[in-house]
């Protein structure tokens, strides 16, 4: 893979979050992702870029789409891929994360793709093991490939987000997607608004230059990119909002609200969706929805992440 002459070569061994990435690094990753995207359209969907390397999906949380996306990404780069479903019920009681990882590494692994319920788990592991760690979600902290693929998808659609208004709607407090999207869009000059009830939106993010609004209807006319977050039903049990019905009424995206948005505004959702709660089928399946583009692009972005963190060489 050739990098443009004026760019520093990619030097990161791990991909842990977006906050620490520069705009140049993200652009480089996107350039790589665009060239890999073409691979998925071939009849033989494979390049030998990571042949001989071993990638382990170490997932300590249930996940289907992210795990499959990483698996396919690694396979298209000709890496060997193994799934390791870590203990998802009692991470604390069983074998420690570090012990699990070291056991896997002893088998000759090059990259660990880690999904873990503890915020900071990817950084914790990266500081203690000698292999590459790609964060596939650590608690509510970061999900960098999701943030990257969301930005990538939007840039595909509108070339630039500089000065554009991005609204992230829902349970920001418990969302690693929100934290990753926020950093990704800020890095590219977008204006970010977080939308949701005060119980689900950390007020401190104002200190980052982010706006916070508790009315979706108020922000809709100004929004260019609307990112809907999955509302987790157990948050209701924690008393953070009164009912799913009220949530849907105040913050759910529906056709009526879609019609009050700018003509070129787009809607994203990281999935899995709660249809009828944060998003109605008309919106999710409508022509302004980029939801399936996100999934497709996710593969290319993850190929780029695996490739660059592996040193960009076969």
């Amino acid at each position: 893979m050739n990098v443009a002459a004026n760019e520093e070569p990619w030097s990161r061994r791990h991909l842990l979050d977006i906050q620490s990435l520069s705009r140049g690094e993200i652009e480089q990753l996107f350039t790589t992702a665009r060239s890999f995207r073409e691979v998925s359209t071939r009849s033989v969907k494979k390049v030998p870029a990571l042949r001989g390397r071993v990638v382990v999906n170490l997932f300590h949380e249930p996940s289907t789409r992210t795990r499959i996306s990483f698996t396919l990404a690694a396979q298209r780069l000709s890496a060997d891929v193994v799934d390791f479903a870590g203990d998802t019920s009692s991470v604390k009681k069983g074998e420690s994360l570090l012990d699990t990882a070291q056991n896997i590494i002893a088998m000759g692994v090059d990259t660990i793709v880690l999904r873990h319920p503890a915020a900071g788990a990817a950084q914790y592991l990266a500081e203690r093991v000698g292999v590459t760690v790609v964060n596939a979600g650590d608690g509510a902290h970061a999900h960098p490939t999701q943030g990257l693929l969301d930005l990538f998808t939007v840039l595909d659609h509108c070339q630039s987000v500089d000065g554009k208004r991005v609204a992230i709607v829902g349970d920001v407090a418990h969302s690693r997607v929100a934290r990753s999207d926020m950093w990704a869009f800020l890095r590219f000059g977008a204006k970010v608004t977080l939308v949701g009830p005060p119980t689900l939106v950390p007020q401190s993010f104002r200190e980052l230059g982010v706006e916070i609004c508790h009315s979706l209807d108020e922000v809709l006319p100004d929004v260019d990119v609307l990112v809907l977050l999955r509302i987790q039903k157990e948050r209701q049990g924690q008393g953070l909002f009164p009912s799913l019905e009220e949530y849907a009424r105040l913050f759910g995206m529906n056709e009526d609200r879609l019609n009050r948005m700018k003509e070129r505004a787009v809607v994203l959702h990281p999935g899995p969706m709660n249809r009828g709660i944060e998003v109605t089928p008309e919106v999710a399946d409508g022509e302004r929805s980029l939801i399936l583009d996100q999934v497709t692009n996710g593969l290319a972005v993850r190929m780029a992440a695996l490739y660059l963190t592996a040193g960009g060489a076969a």
């Binding site: 994360l97 503890a118 915020a119 788990a121 608690g139 934290r179 401190s204 980052l208």
Partner: protein, 427 residues
């Protein structure tokens, strides 16, 4: 025994002069320009400071129940190495210290250790469950110097009110932390931008102050001696200052880590900085330091909380809060707050000896003639690097590892008995 030529620093009398100090029958016998008597043993303290032995009013010795991380013996030896002649052992053991028998066990184990004095603190409620009053009469008889449910603030206000009244009958102080359990929830860090960026659950604002408010109200109503442990916020200090100005009989203490670190330390999920209460923003830390100097804060306690390496070196959210502290407290506070800060040396000694002795009502904290000879000599010029593997404590978890510090306990007497001599335990 004659301690010769040291700089005598006694916060109880304000004395600060180079002099000799004679120990007789376990007590301070005289201070002045003294000549050794025939056959009298002499310890030179030239170039050293001679202070009342340090007293820590809140340490966790983990025995019985968690002897792998600390025992009463190793804790008492660690105390001695840090210049402490007495420590108050909290009841959060397994079983908890909530009966006459467990208090006696703790006291006897402490005496056997032959290091720093170990003063048992009895549980305020049975099993530290915050429901039934514990048998404080029996525990007081067995040697409990105070009562506390320590890590658990008694949540039910009516129970705490009764416990305060009942403890008062036995003339023992109540020590309590200020933490509203519901507001704390599952919080492990202070609320704010850092917590939100790290996506770690935060203790809600008011967790400390609301419980503090309740406790101040009771202290005001009852006039009972109440000590507030581990205060950590500027607002708490403001409330305490106001209450003291109103004449409420409360005292409070803070930990070295809350005086020296802020929440900035956890930006990369370093679990060695995970404490209860959590580290706070810089403005709070500055308020604590100012309150040390102006007297609003009465004492410093290491809150020595031995933690196993495997409990600490895990993901932040799963890590056990706390840190050891007996062997580092004097040196880090002397280095950072006295040498590099505005805290007078005599005030530091007061915070670490005279004040805790008065709060607990135990001997020590004074070098006046007739006082028990619990005495420490420190070399303030002694530079050393904190190497946890040399700790006497079984726990090597500390945020001060590899710190270059100045000031170390050279000799320590407990009841006139020289137990630490020339930086080594006396066998």
């Amino acid at each position: 025994m004659l301690i010769q030529g040291g700089r005598i620093l006694d916060p109880a009398s304000g004395r600060d002069e180079v002099a000799d100090l004679r120990i007789e029958a376990g007590c301070v016998a005289e201070i002045g320009a003294l000549t050794p008597r025939d056959g009298e043993s002499v310890v030179s303290a030239t170039g050293l400071i001679v202070t009342p032995g340090l007293i820590d009013l809140c340490v966790h010795l983990r025995e019985p129940g968690f002897e792998a991380v600390e025992t009463i013996r190793t804790g008492a030896e660690a105390a001695l190495a840090g210049g402490f002649t007495a420590i108050a052992a909290m009841p959060d053991t397994d079983p908890p210290v909530d009966t006459e028998a467990t208090v006696a066990f703790c006291r006897l184990k402490g005496e056997e250790a032959g290091a720093a004095r170990v003063h048992p603190v009895g549980a305020l409620t049975q099993g530290r469950r915050g429901e039934q009053l514990s048998e404080m009469g029996g525990m007081a008889r067995a040697g409990a110097v105070a009562f506390s449910d320590e890590d658990l603030a008694v949540a039910r206000s009516e129970v705490f009110l009764r416990a305060l009244r009942y403890a008062g009958m036995h003339g023992r102080p109540v020590l309590t932390r200020c933490e509203d359990p519901g507001l704390r929830g599952s919080g492990v860090v202070s609320g704010g931008l850092i917590a939100d960026l790290l996506a770690l659950p935060a203790v809600a604002p008011g967790t400390e102050e609301i419980m503090l408010g309740r406790n101040l109200y009771f202290a005001r109503q009852l006039g009972a001696p109440l000590h507030l442990l581990h205060l950590s916020t500027a607002e708490s200090i403001r409330q305490v200052r106001a209450a003291k100005q109103d004449g409420v009989s409360i005292t409070c203490s803070v930990t070295p880590h809350h005086l020296l670190f802020t929440e900035e330390s956890i930006r990369s999920y370093e679990s060695v900085y995970k404490y209860r209460p959590p580290l706070r923003p810089e403005a709070d830390r500055e308020a604590l330091v100012a309150a040390l100097i102006d007297g609003t804060i009465d004492a410093v306690s290491s809150d020595h909380s031995p933690v196993g390496e495997e409990e600490k070196n895990v993901e932040f959210i799963f890590a056990t809060p706390g840190t050891g502290g007996l062997e580092t407290t004097f040196a880090v506070l002397h280095t950072r707050l006295v040498e590099q800060g505005d805290l007078p040396l005599l005030r530091l000694i007061e915070l670490l000896s005279t004040a805790p002795a008065q709060i607990l009502g135990v001997p020590g904290g004074s070098l006046e003639v007739g006082a028990p000879a619990d005495i420490s000599c420190f070399d303030l010029q002694r530079e050393w690097r904190v190497e946890p593997r040399y700790f006497r404590s079984r726990s090597h978890v500390t945020p001060f590892a590899q710190w270059e510090v100045r000031g170390r306990a050279c000799h320590v007497w407990v009841g006139g008995d020289l137990r630490w001599h020339d930086y080594k335990a006396v066998r």
